[in-house]
């Protein structure tokens, strides 16, 4: 195997090792940042890591395994950064990797995308009628007509009997009316 004379052999071995176990790391571990790291810090880490593992810096390396390892790391670092720079995806991802499903959720995959879409849709109702009524109700709240809002939300309940968020919202508004 051709060794790269411009790279310390220990660093080269370490890099190949990291590349081989990328699939066991979550995105925070990939970036070397805490789960509550501010967005600016993630960006700084992203730049630092790209400096260390940029494929261009190894373009002429005679060691094909090292070139491959660097490329795999660079791709995963970019993937981690892209997901974590998006606040919504980051919130979901951070929840997912703390859950019992962690092992299956280390990469933000199709399932994550689907789940996030469903979560978003359910934010305001699970059925088209429910969503429409809820939207109208929130409009009424903004106008100060809480009574009208409650009427609409209760009608929405007819379509979505098991919607916990909807129940909670009705509870909130009823508490407001009592005051």
């Amino acid at each position: 195997m051709a060794e790269d004379p411009n790279v310390h052999p220990v660093w080269a071995a370490e890099t190949k090792h990291i590349a081989s176990c990328l699939d066991q790391l979550d995105y925070y571990q990939v970036l070397g940042a805490a789960t509550d790291a501010p967005a600016e810090e993630l960006k700084i880490r992203y730049h630092q890591l790209q400096r260390n593992y940029h494929p261009d810096a190894f373009f002429t390396s005679p060691d094909p395994e090292l070139r491959d390892a660097v490329r795999r790391i660079a791709k995963r670092v970019a993937e981690a950064y892209v997901i974590l720079r998006d606040p919504e995806k980051r919130a979901k991802y951070t929840r997912d990797i703390a859950s019992p499903e962690r092992v299956k959720k280390l990469r933000y995959n199709d399932e994550s995308v689907r789940e996030q879409r469903i979560e978003k849709e359910q934010e305001l109702g699970k059925t088209p009628q429910g969503r429409q009524l809820w939207k109208k109700a929130e409009e009424s709240v903004r106008k100060g007509d809480v009574a009208a809002a409650l009427r609409d939300l209760k009608t929405a309940m007819l379509f979505e009997k098991d919607n916990e968020r909807l129940k909670a919202r009705i509870g909130e508004l009823e508490a407001q009316v009592k005051k």
């Binding site: 730049h47 400096r51 261009d56 002429t60 970019a78």
Partner: protein
């Protein structure tokens, strides 16, 4: 000392433009544009096939557009990597005098007498000329190159450009984006952070890229573009205005005569360039039309800057729609940009300069010649790739969303636009019928959910996996966008781990065999030095 001279091989940066091309190398540590023997620093991207078998390239070939219109190919970059049925090709066929015909798999070919050339081959002739210029200047063989493309080029166009390099006998180190190359030329990153917008109006394309530059890292945050908008469209406006005025004066429509149209186009380009310096230009075209009695007519008129500005206002506005889009993707507003750089010859126009200043509320930078800035950046990148002492790190993005065809003519996203590259994404597919031997997927690039509104990149067929009852075989497909912005697709059988073999069909590109054939033909061409 001798040893250090041989550390870095020579590698050139080539800006392969729609209208003009330019080549640069690093000389004594400084990016330098190489002039040809006549001192010309930019070269018309025109190839003219002469009756005696000679081939002219560059500014000489451009002179042939009028006298040898059928055999002189210009603006071929507008055709590269496109399908024959695309809007751009349809438009080109109505405008250019040379013969554009349909090739295999809906590809584009140019017919010169009895020979068919692909747009890649035409580009290869220009690239070979750039190489010749570099070799004449350095007295050395130069085979390694970085070639630039518009940031908004799709996979087909990038692949075709890379193939053009191969046909020209070059080792293409990298395909990089024009605005990103321009940013490299400005030598930022001396220890301070800058947010830079590149406004790149070329001959045939318009791109905007927004970069975060910190120390030695050039991170492209977003890019947007319009591959149907460029300086040529400004010329066309003047050309049609001239044709209209002539029609009013003489009641003759010059647009029916491709020869006259070329003369108008030439006059239009000259007038446009003149308006960058003067408030009013005189336009005089001798012998533009010969009537049925054999009487020849000249055409004279004047064009003022104000008239011109009015003619092109909507084109200028279109560039700012693209700027809006790039800023929106980057989640920024125009006043959060620290500096604006102008790239491309057409940005010399006063209307562009003043509109850019107005939009960004900043005086745009023009320190480096807008015609040369891209080639110089490409030379810097070429040098950096071969140098083990890496000094700048480019983090570019993919300009278009990569999509997978689903049922009913719809698509779903695989990799979003403005995702940093290189990147990969893996998806699993299961077989839909018993004993299925092949899995086919179709991929697209574009921003629509509907397949038909995106660009087809190709249909991939996987085979060689276990044959079993339906749903029992899972194939893991990896979509990778590499550092050239080119899409690679590979698949493996999850259970056995064996790599499935992949064949691409329906692509617009050249096969390896066609590239090899074109390479041979290219070597045999008699490129003439005037």
């Amino acid at each position: 000392m001798l040893a250090s001279l041989s550390v870095t091989e020579l590698a050139m940066g080539i800006d392969l433009g729609t209208s003009y091309s330019c080549v640069a190398i690093i000389e004594d540590g400084v990016p330098t544009v190489i002039p040809n023997e006549w001192g010309e620093r930019t070269h018309a991207s025109v190839v003219s096939f002469m009756d005696d078998g000679r081939v002219l390239v560059g500014n000489d070939a451009k002179k042939q557009i009028i006298t040898n219109p059928d055999n002189t190919v210009y603006s071929s970059k507008r055709l590269i990597g496109r399908f024959f049925f695309s809007e751009e090709v349809r438009k080109a066929r109505t405008v250019v005098p040379y013969n554009i015909v349909e090739g295999p798999n809906n590809s584009v070919r140019i017919r010169i007498r009895d020979t068919l050339y692909s747009p890649q081959e035409v580009a290869a002739i220009i690239l070979k000329e750039m190489r010749q210029i570099a070799e004449n200047h350095t007295g050395q063989t130069v085979t390694k190159a970085v070639i630039t493309v518009p940031a908004y080029f799709n996979d087909n166009q990038r692949q075709a450009t890379k193939d053009a390099g191969k046909i020209a006998g070059l080792e293409v180190l990298r395909i990089i984006n024009e605005p990103t190359a321009a940013a490299l030329s400005y030598g930022f990153g001396q220890g301070y952070n800058q947010r830079v917008a590149l406004y790149d109006l070329g001959g045939g394309t318009f791109d905007v890229s927004i970069l975060d530059i910190g120390d030695d890292v050039f991170e492209v945050v977003s890019t947007a573009g319009d591959t149907y908008l460029g300086g040529d469209d400004f010329d066309d406006r003047i050309m049609h205005w001239l044709a209209d005025s002539f029609q009013q004066q003489q009641n003759v429509d010059l647009r029916q005569d491709k020869y006259a149209l070329q003369k108008l186009k030439e006059a239009a380009e000259k007038a446009k360039i003149g308006l960058s310096e003067h408030e009013v230009v005189q336009i005089h075209i001798p012998l533009i039309y010969t009537d049925e009695n054999g009487y020849s007519l000249d055409f004279s008129t004047t064009l003022s800057r104000a008239e011109f500005n009015q003619m092109v206002m909507d084109l200028v506005q279109r560039t700012f729609k693209v700027c809006d889009e790039a800023l929106q993707s980057a989640r920024l507003t125009a006043n959060e940009i620290d500096c604006v750089i102008l790239v491309g010859g057409p940005t010399r126009l006063p209307i562009i300069r003043s509109s850019v200043r107005h939009y960004f509320q900043k005086q745009p930078l023009t320190d480096v010649d807008p015609d040369e800035v891209v080639a110089m950046g490409a030379a810097i990148q070429a040098h950096a790739l071969l140098d083990t002492q890496q000094s700048t790190y480019l983090l570019d993005v993919t300009p278009l969303t990569l999509r997978l065809a689903t049922v009913g003519g719809y698509t779903e996203k695989i990799i979003d636009k403005n995702t940093p590259i290189p990147i990969d994404r893996t998806r699993c597919f299961t077989t839909a019928s018993d004993n299925q031997e092949k899995v086919k997927i179709k991929i697209f690039q574009g921003e629509s959910n509907l397949a038909k509104d995106n660009t087809l990149l190709g249909e991939f067929e996987f085979s060689g996996f276990k044959v079993a009852a339906r749903g029992e075989v899972t194939i893991e497909v990896t979509f990778e966008i590499d550092t050239d912005g080119i899409v690679n697709v590979s698949a493996r059988d999850v259970e056995t781990g064996t790599q499935a073999s992949t064949t691409i069909s329906l692509g617009s590109g050249l096969s390896d065999h066609e590239v090899a054939q074109a390479q041979q033909r290219n070597e045999g061409l008699m490129v003439s030095n005037r």
